[in-house]
């Protein structure tokens, strides 16, 4: 089980439990059992709670706020990334996938799927689709079905509008 303990807000951290009169210097002690740390009584020294050595991946160091026992609170304003850069990341941690079905004219009932969110232009989309069906991009024409059910030639509207309207894709053989 992966322990998902996170750092509490500064005002209600474990430190408020400390009795400062008993405060003295000490060394770091890695704790195997995180919960031992949670039962910090008027502690003589602060200890860092590190996840057990078994857990290689999430060696994050964390506190649990006794006030919000059981509740998770995320790391406060960390890592130190500027506001303008944060704005770019919000909501975009992982690109959400947008899969649509693609059919190649003449390919029978075979259907493939493509994640449109990985593309930012018609050019890369056509290139990828052509590859998917083993064709050259010059030999195919891309059409799509919009929300109203109409089949339209791709490339006439801005990419953003296309992304909002597209429901299905179809590659036609380029006969010209």
């Amino acid at each position: 089980m992966e322990l998902e303990l996170t750092l509490s807000l500064s005002s209600s951290s474990c430190f408020s439990q400390f009795d400062l009169n008993n405060y003295s210097h000490g060394n770091v002690e890695a704790k195997d059992n995180v919960y031992e740390c949670l039962n910090m009584q008027p502690l003589k020294k602060r200890k860092y709670c590190v996840n057990g050595a078994n857990d290689v991946e999430s060696t994050s160091f964390i506190f649990m706020n006794p006030k919000f026992s059981g509740q998770e609170t995320s790391l406060v304003r960390w890592p130190p990334v500027n506001k303008s850069r944060k704005k770019l990341c919000v909501g975009g941690t992982k690109p959400k996938s947008m899969f649509v079905k693609v059919h190649m004219e003449g390919d029978g009932i075979a259907r493939k799927k493509i994640n449109l969110n990985l593309h930012r232009s018609y050019r890369t989309l056509v290139h990828t689709l052509a590859n998917m069906f083993g064709k050259c991009k010059e030999d195919v024409k891309l059409t799509y079905q919009d929300k109203e059910g109409d089949w339209l030639l791709a490339g006439d509207v801005p990419w953003g509008s296309f992304m909002e309207a597209v429901k299905r894709l179809k590659l036609l053989k380029n006969t010209c």
Binding site: S11, Y48, R85
Partner: protein, 616 residues
């Protein structure tokens, strides 16, 4: 005001990297031979030490000195020199707006034309300082309107700037030329309208990373057609669309334009049009570097940069795809600064691009380029001095992508002249950092952010103490250090013992006891700024710096273990320090000081402190 030469030098400290080396000027001062060519009023001299110059001569010579540090030294020589220096000073730098009052500045320096002021503590960039904390520019402007009506330049960082302040600035200073706002907040595009409308001699408008209320792009259309003096225009961080027609006309008539950084809304073909009007550009920030429609072939843009022979800085490049990136290749050979931190490039895309960039000195990247991308940096950019690698997904803990220690080591092998690094990663080892230090001993700024707090060396599971130990031992020129990972007091012991030139230290989630902070406060003779969050440093640590804080600009401690009583004790002992506690919202525990900001000042306690800031 008593021009006592022994007054604290709170206004004189320099922080800016662009300190002009004026050793020539000071040598001039010492070696000038008054017999040779000067006016008859010059006194006879016997030696350089007992030189007597009339004020006019002294002022004239001192006016050549730009460096703040040199000017500080000059003002301490004697009363005459103090006076000559204060009359000849044109630019004043104020590193902490509360360390001095506008009245004191105006009284000491009567002839200022250019002012730089920094306000909030740096951790306000990460929302650790509540809104309405202070650092309002308005009180400064109202004093300057009387003292410096001919003020030309104002550069602000982390100040609160309202639209009223901007309007005041635009209308009360008839000669105003240059405005630079970095990480400021409190204003909207209406304030920019005022600047554009009223500043007839504007040469610079530089708006970066601000908390601005973007009400639309109409401000740009407010520049009158008579305005032709613009040299710097940076509105990259504004979101709204401006009138392209207005922009194109503005760029066409401003023949001295050197810096143009547009926002994301400017398309590639619009950019091409703009560049055709200003081939003399030295710094360019592009808009979105991609097209939506397959309208024309990419070749139509291939000459976009061929006339820009002076271009040395390139930024922007939002959404740059491998399809359009080759458009910048013709300009790459001359580039010294390339900012790709808004382009999600992969390693191969970066490698292709960098193979054209032989002259790079500064490079900013997103960690999407991976370790492989950094290998390309190492092999293509031997003159690199600065590297910043930003995280594309800093808040997603599930991601195991980005860069690792191996990318950093690759860069250090190929770029021995590295002196400034900011590196965000998710894993690091002591051995890697030791190798990096050995490859690049000239580091002046080393900022390593291992994004999981308290993470040890992922191979040995040991703390990262030895990593930072090797940095401070090897890199004797180190001025700025930011540490991360699992760190014990040993790290601080190393820092205190070896960092003789350290001026700025940033610490988070580190240390085991008070000793850590004490090591730093007792070592580090040149320490000026210490910012600490989420560390086990308590009252003993805070009070161990009693004699140190007056020689520093400021101390920030949040989420540590400091009590209100200790803060009160510090405030009582040191009346020339402001000891401020920012109270937390839920105000749970009133005996603890959750956010402490300590700074030296000659202005006394703040008179504008909001209710949640307690000055002790």
């Amino acid at each position: 005001m008593d021009p006592n030469p022994k007054r604290p030098k709170t206004v004189d400290r320099v922080d800016s990297v662009e300190v002009v080396n004026s050793s020539e000027s000071t040598q001039l001062l010492c070696s000038i031979d008054p017999n040779r060519k000067r006016a008859k009023t010059v006194d006879r001299v016997d030696s350089a030490e007992s030189t007597q110059f009339p004020d006019e001569v002294l002022e004239r010579v001192l006016s050549l000195i730009d460096s703040h540090k040199d000017r500080s030294s000059v003002s301490l020589v004697c009363k005459d020199w103090y006076n000559a220096e204060r009359w000849s000073r044109r630019h004043v730098f104020i590193g902490n707006c509360y360390s001095v009052s506008p009245e004191i500045v105006a009284a000491r320096f009567p002839r200022i034309r250019s002012v730089t002021i920094k306000g909030k503590p740096r951790f306000s960039d990460f929302n650790l300082v509540p809104e309405d904390w202070g650092a309002d520019i308005y009180p400064w402007l109202s004093v300057f309107a009387l003292a410096y009506p001919f003020l030309e330049e104002l550069r602000l960082k982390r100040m609160a700037v309202s639209d009223e302040s901007l309007e005041f600035l635009a209308t009360k200073f008839c000669n105003f030329k240059a405005l630079s706002l970095l990480s400021c907040d409190g204003f909207s595009t209406d304030g920019l309208k005022a600047i554009a409308t009223h500043c007839k001699n504007l040469t610079e408008l530089d708006i970066q990373e601000n908390g601005i209320d973007d009400l639309g792009g109409h401000w740009l259309s407010c520049f009158p057609e008579t305005l032709t003096s613009l040299e710097v225009l940076n509105f990259a961080s504004l979101n709204s669309e401006v009138s392209f027609d207005a922009l194109e006309k503005l760029v066409s008539r401003c023949k001295s334009l050197k810096v143009l950084k547009v926002n994301r809304n400017i398309s590639l073909d619009q950019l091409q049009k703009l560049l055709s009007h200003c081939p003399q550009l030295m710094e360019l920030g592009t808009g979105a570097f991609t097209q939506e429609l397959i309208s024309g072939p990419v070749t139509e843009f291939k000459n976009m940069f061929s006339n820009c022979r002076n271009l040395i800085t390139l930024s922007g490049l939002w959404d740059a795809t491998p399809l359009y990136l080759p458009v910048i290749y013709p300009a790459c050979a001359r580039l010294t600064f390339l900012n790709l931190s808004y382009a999600t490039l992969r390693s191969d895309e970066l490698a292709n691009l960098l193979s054209h960039c032989k002259s790079l000195r500064r490079l900013w990247l997103l960690d999407t380029v991976g370790d492989k991308g950094l290998e390309a940096v190492g092999s293509c950019c031997p003159f690199l001095e600065e590297l910043r690698v930003f995280p594309a997904h800093p808040f997603d803990q599930q991601i195991f992508l980005g860069v690792t220690e191996s990318g950093f080591v690759s860069v250090s092998r190929g770029c021995p002249r590295l002196r400034y690094v900011l590196y965000f990663c998710r894993q690091m080892t002591n051995a890697a950092v030791a190798a990096i230090a050995k490859n690049c001993p000239d580091f002046t700024h080393f900022r390593l952010c291992i994004m999981n707090p308290g993470q040890p060396d992922y191979l040995t599971k040991e703390p990262m103490d030895e990593a930072f130990g090797s940095i401070v031992k090897t890199c004797t020129k180190l001025q700025r250090l930011a540490i991360s990972g699992l760190l014990t007091d040993r790290t601080f012991e190393y820092i205190g013992k070896y960092s003789k030139n350290l001026e700025t230290l940033s610490v988070a989630f580190a240390g085991s006891s008070d000793l850590g902070m004490e090591y730093v406060l007792q070592g580090c003779p040149k320490l000026r700024k210490l910012e600490i969050r989420d560390c086990p440093f308590g009252n003993a640590a805070l009070l161990s710096g009693l004699t140190k804080y007056e020689s520093m600009r400021s101390l920030w401690m949040s989420a540590c273990n400091v009590s209100m009583n200790a803060c009160r004790a510090l405030a009582k002992e040191k009346p020339r320090l402001n000891v401020e506690v920012i109270r937390d919202e839920d105000g749970a525990d009133d005996s603890q000081a959750h956010k402490v900001y300590v700074y030296r000042t000659v202005a006394g306690p703040r008179r504008d402190a909001p209710p949640f800031v307690l000055t002790l």
